[in-house]
Symmetry: C2
Subunit: 145 residues, 2 copies
Amino acid sequence: MKISTKGRYALRLMLDLAMSDSSRPTHIKEISARQDISVKYLEQIIAILNKAGFVRSTRGPQGGYSLRWDPEEYTVGMILRLTEGSLAPVACVEDGGICPRDEQCVTVEVWKRLNDAINGVVDHITLADLIHWQEEKNQNLDYII
Amino acid sequence: MKISTKGRYALRLMLDLAMSDSSRPTHIKEISARQDISVKYLEQIIAILNKAGFVRSTRGPQGGYSLRWDPEEYTVGMILRLTEGSLAPVACVEDGGICPRDEQCVTVEVWKRLNDAINGVVDHITLADLIHWQEEKNQNLDYII
DNA sequence: TCTTTTTCATACCGATTCAATAGGAATATG
DNA sequence: CATATTCCTATTGAATCGGTATGAAAAAGA
């Protein structure tokens, strides 16, 4: 019942992009340094985001990646589902999931509620929210220091 | 981000026990037949529940298992956490979990909310609720047939 | 045109977890 | 003593996790 590194790193990666200077593409090396994740692993993860059209890529020197849309258009759910696959806690409450025990089984009600609770969280937080939280956190840090 | 068979089977197992004739111990074979889970796998799962004192066991012929407490005293969370381990979506929001990036990291807020949402569901459903739902479902089935 | 910097694609790998199965020991009943 | 049950531990095949490694392709600049 864990979110894997792929999903977690993808979220940090997208937030990093969202908070980067949007006037030029950000290259993987920078993100790798800031987020302390290997370049090679980041490449794999961003490839998924790129194929899905979540980011725009530019090759060659001065190349890199940038967000395709505004931060408020990305929900955490979109990013996690893309990289993690379904977030449903069991297969039988997935879209198109079928269970042979459906008629008798009542534990499925638990899974449905769990699924709704999970979706309720991830589908209502956007990258814009994360940016906002990050800015608040940075301010507090400045204040302390 | 899935609940494994261990947790799912444990829940069905406990519900099965809760709905069984409590005047005598229920043996694994019966549960295996009703739930369509192998005897050997069930043995392993119930061993966990037994060690934790969730069920009482009696050996020998006419032996078997029975619930130790009333159904309303078992939450789904207790059963799942025992068999699955922590339900926290990432290690850093677990009890005693520490993260070196805590100061800077803002995605942790996502995980906290997710964690709260998950706990909010599983800690507020008891075996008694499941029994109730099952009885309702059975009634509806009878009605249709 | 050559070098450099970047993305892009794919293969590989060790460790761990999952989902069981298997074999047999211990214990109680009758 | 035979039988029915729980109890204990080992094994296994497959999948997943969390990356590394290698190198091709493309673009920019000298």
